[in-house]
């Protein structure tokens, strides 16, 4: 048995996890009492188990649910007992869906725009410093200059942002409400209310999924674009470096040629001077 426990760790593992019978337990205990190596190993394995307890998965708001997609047939009063055919269903987190980054930014723009719109603020930055003026105060218009305030207000950047946001929301809303929201003829008012609630919940869940999916998609798209941009930049820098290097080498060779010519010219002049001197 001794040799078996030292060589084959199956029994030791079974003992470690309390999955051996009494006879096996006794044999392991007798063995570790006599074998220092196995005793030490057992202690260490117990220690690893203690360490492993420290590893907790991150706290995630899960709350998955099966939600049946709005199905007019299923909602009809004659739907009767449960059907074998399961219609399409949604699997959604109950947790509040985080707003996508673009929506948060748009909301911030909206708040600022609304604030600016209410106050009719005109912020002017010039040589004379920063001037903040509300629209209710008439701006002094210099003679010969076109009135600038209305033009600035008309071309305010937040208006473009607002228009973009509106366009985006209009694009998204049809997709979000694509599921036909049916209003089945009520057999009785209570059933109708329950169905309506269920249907609206399903629709809300679906909208949340769409927003969630869109958020993920945008994030992935952004990551991909960022990576592509970085790659492009790296390629551009590299090609520019190669071109610069080539130009530099060309310049060096031209300097070399010119230096050779100058050297030849100098030798020629020295020789000419010597001839003159001899004469």
């Amino acid at each position: 048995m001794k040799q078996r426990i030292c060589d084959d760790k199956s029994l030791l593992m079974a003992y470690l996890y309390g999955e051996c019978d009494d006879a096996e337990c006794r044999s392991v205990e007798e063995h570790v009492a006599a074998c220092a190596d196995c005793a030490a190993e057992l202690d260490e394995l117990r220690g690893v188990r203690v360490a492993l307890r420290e590893w907790a998965p991150p706290e995630q708001a899960l709350g998955f649910r099966i939600v049946r997609e709005a199905d007019p047939a299923a909602l009809a009063p004659s739907a009767g007992p449960p059907r074998d055919r399961r219609t399409a269903h949604w699997f959604l987190p109950r947790v509040p869906v985080r707003l996508p980054a673009w929506a948060q930014a748009a909301a911030a723009v909206l708040v600022l725009a609304a604030g600016a719109g209410i106050a009719n603020l005109n912020v002017h930055i010039g040589n004379d410093g920063v001037t903040v003026r509300t629209g209710w105060q008439q701006a002094p218009v210099a003679q010969g200059q076109p009135p600038q305030v209305p033009a600035q207000a008309g071309a305010a950047p937040w208006r473009a942002d607002l228009a973009a946001l509106e366009r985006r929301l209009r694009q998204d809303m049809p997709a979000a409400t694509a599921t036909p929201v049916t209003s089945p003829v009520p057999a009785n008012a209570a059933t109708d209310r329950a169905r309506a609630t269920s249907e609206s919940t399903a629709t809300m869940m679906r909208v949340q999924t769409l927003l969630d999916d869109r958020d993920r998609r945008l994030q992935r798209q952004f990551d991909r674009q960022l990576a592509e941009g970085m790659l492009r930049l790296a390629r551009d820098v590299d090609s520019q470096r190669v071109a610069d290097q080539r130009r530099f080498l060309q310049g060096l060779s031209q300097i070399d040629v010119r230096t050779t010519q100058l050297s030849q010219m100098q030798n020629y002049m020295l020789r000419a001077a010597n001839v003159q001197e001899i004469k």
Binding site: G47, V48, A51, I66
Partner: protein, 210 residues
């Protein structure tokens, strides 16, 4: 009155989504924990968890109760984890925001800094997560199923479709590797029966002190 899994499964098989939602509520945390510990990515583990229940719901009518519902769920989740790992075509990496490296951690520890300080600073959980990276997929799965999901050796063998002795060997190898990794980080894992905590080794000292 709390219904058993079997009762809820039977009702779910007849199309009762509410019963299935009760099963989800009961099992989503263990399944998520399993997926996270096997593949090591929070968001992907969440996706795996969701897909597990979706597949289970679609296949619940075909589930005849030949195994425990939880075992069936584990099998689906593990298959999805395996698919995920194949898709990644690389060793699954446990997320470690600060990129803790055990050898770096051990080498950067100064004589004046105790291991207790080190552990509290770096978070023991991340150290263990990092150490789990060194395990093969089979070893990690065995450790996770045994240590965290609390399955018996026989259940793991049935789930993975391998002999009992293979499960024990994988687990032994996994624990031994983890012990080495933790020791490399200065965590001494020797615990006598009855002890409840880890015993960090003393900070490095001149050899004469040992």
């Amino acid at each position: 009155m709390t219904c058993t899994d079997e009762e809820l499964v039977a009702r779910s098989a007849r199309g009762d989504a509410d019963s299935f939602n009760q099963l989800i509520t009961r099992w989503e945390r263990p399944i998520y924990a399993l997926a996270y510990r096997v593949i090591g990515h929070e968001e992907d583990a969440r996706d795996v968890c969701q897909e597990t229940f979706l597949r289970a719901f679609r296949g619940i009518a075909a589930f005849k109760g030949q195994a425990k519902f939880s075992s069936w769920l584990y099998r689906i989740a593990l298959n999805l984890c395996r698919d995920w790992i194949r898709r990644q075509r690389r060793t699954p990496v446990v997320q470690s925001p600060e990129g803790v490296d055990l050898t770096e951690l051990a080498s950067e520890r100064g004589p004046a800094e105790s291991v207790e300080d080190l552990v509290s600073r770096q978070d023991m959980s991340r150290l263990v997560a990092r150490a789990m990276r060194s395990l093969s997929e089979e070893q990690r799965t065995a450790v996770v199923l045994k240590e965290y999901q609390g399955l018996t050796f026989q259940e793991i063998a049935d789930l993975l479709g391998c002999p009992l002795s293979t499960v024990k060997t994988r687990l032994y190898q996994g624990l031994t590797l983890l012990r080495r990794q933790l020791e490399a980080a200065g965590i001494h894992s020797g615990v006598r029966a009855g002890d409840g905590g880890l015993t960090p080794v003393a900070a490095p000292r001149p050899s004469s002190d040992i």
